[in-house]
């Protein structure tokens, strides 16, 4: 690792000031620390968000949304987001137990790895991503592989999830990395179904409009019969080519519908 300063503010206000002075945020570090070890990043100064109590916790707001503070760990979400079972179940299967002790929802969404789990939940639920300066709809937040609407120094403070009638997240794991090769989040709301896919696309997490239309008309796995994902924008690597990933999108979407609860 290149040398850097590490600051540990204990309030959001202090963290925002430290960021303005030229720091970069460190949340759980489960992606950033391996990146630093590989000397793929040279931040100069890291601002740890780990010691800020106001950035932690799971609650329900007046609209019934599950609100998760930015530095809440996957393990805490798994244990406490019980009012949104599909979300808690997703959190319980990220990485491994040690990763879930440290890794955070805000870190995952800020990084927007094209194979990460939380982006699928946020986009599939139509969540709102709150930062130290504004609120961003999930549909506007995700802007491609590792790209988000966040500006330099902007901190994800909270994520608000509307709770669907039923939902499920089904992932097909790439056996070496344990990240999703393709994973699908399906959420059925009173006014329609949302389908978000991670791991598959060169443009990061995305919604599958045709599947949403079919499932909004009839919420059964068979409603997806005959729907083909366009393989053009799929990722191709040694773990799977474009056609394979495109096929998996349909398979995992059907499994999610079957397991939606």
């Amino acid at each position: 690792m290149y040398a850097f300063d590490l600051e540990r503010p204990t309030t959001l206000d202090a963290a925002v000031k430290a960021m303005a002075a030229g720091g970069q945020p460190l949340s759980g570090g489960q992606t950033l620390i391996p990146t630093l070890k590989a000397r793929l990043a040279d931040p100069g100064k890291l601002i740890s968000l780990h010691s800020i109590p106001e950035l932690k916790g799971v609650s329900t707001d007046a609209e019934g949304r599950i609100c998760i503070k930015g530095a809440t760990t996957h393990g805490t979400v798994a244990a406490e987001a019980v009012a949104y079972p599909a979300l808690a179940h997703l959190a319980a299967r990220i990485g491994d137990p040690a990763v879930r002790t440290r890794g955070t929802i805000g870190g995952s969404l800020a990084n927007n790895d094209p194979s990460a789990c939380y982006p699928a939940a946020a986009l599939g639920s139509g969540a709102t991503i709150c930062t130290d300066r504004r609120e961003i709809a999930a549909d506007d937040y995700f802007q491609g592989m590792f790209a988000t609407a966040l500006e330099d120094g902007e901190i994800v403070t909270e994520v608000k999830f509307p709770v669907p009638q039923v939902a499920a997240y089904e992932k097909f794991i790439q056996p070496a990395s344990r990240f999703p090769l393709v994973a699908v989040f399906v959420a059925k709301f009173a006014d329609g179904v949302r389908v978000a896919i991670t791991g598959a696309s060169e443009t990061g997490v995305f919604r599958w409009a045709e599947a949403e239309a079919a499932l909004s008309a009839r919420f059964e796995a068979s409603a997806l019969d005959g729907l083909a994902m366009d393989p053009d924008h799929m990722i191709a690597d040694l773990h799977g080519d474009k056609a394979y990933r495109a096929h998996l999108c349909g398979v995992m979407a059907k499994r999610a519908v079957m397991h939606a609860a």
Binding site: A3, D5, L6, Q30, I33, P34, S48, D96, V99, T101
Partner: protein, 175 residues
């Protein structure tokens, strides 16, 4: 209580002072921002029971407990453990050397071959059994997802953890 001062090389211009409790002892020392918790434990405190297997956050040999929760000590900065309660493999056995139930089960069921992954396996098992005293075999295997044994001795590791939980181990497919 004995207060240990960790001594390790660090760059003056990036140093941070840290204090924490490791296996019940108060320790403190100077580290850099980039100093990993596992480096502080091994090089600063000479607690070399916590192993570095991969250094890429994948193998789990460096698993320790921070404030009661299992973490990979290679994937957390020492400065972030400031003020924390840290437990390592050195603190698992009793002071007179009597092995813990988990350690004894690893010995009884030959839950190790080369032994390199064992400290992490024992710490992961302790974390599991604290939260879930009677796990199923499936739950044990799921919990060990982040702990890699390159001797591939998983069957006996799982058997040892089941035994440590006081449960009979059903016959395994590979036997």
């Amino acid at each position: 209580m004995l207060r240990l001062m960790a001594s390790m090389r660090f760059r003056e211009d990036f140093h941070v002072r840290v204090s924490m409790t490791v296996n019940g002892r108060n320790v403190s020392g100077e580290v850099e921002g980039r100093t990993l918790l596992v480096e502080f434990l091994r090089e600063g405190l000479h607690l070399t029971g916590t192993h570095v297997g991969c250094d890429t956050s994948q193998c789990g040999a460096c698993t320790v407990h921070v404030d009661g929760m299992q973490v990979k000590a290679c994937s957390m900065f020492a400065a972030e453990a400031d003020g924390a309660q840290v437990a390592t493999i050195e603190g698992v056995a009793a002071n007179d050397g009597t092995l813990s139930a988990i350690q004894q089960a690893f010995q009884d069921h030959h839950g190790l071959q080369c032994g390199f992954c064992t400290p992490g396996m024992v710490m992961a098992a302790a974390s599991l059994l604290k939260a879930n005293p009677k796990p199923t075999e499936h739950e044990v295997r799921e919990h060990l997802e982040g702990n890699i044994c390159r001797c591939t001795g998983y069957h006996n590791i799982v058997k040892a953890i089941m035994a440590a939980s006081g449960q009979e181990m059903p016959a395994l497919a590979a036997e």
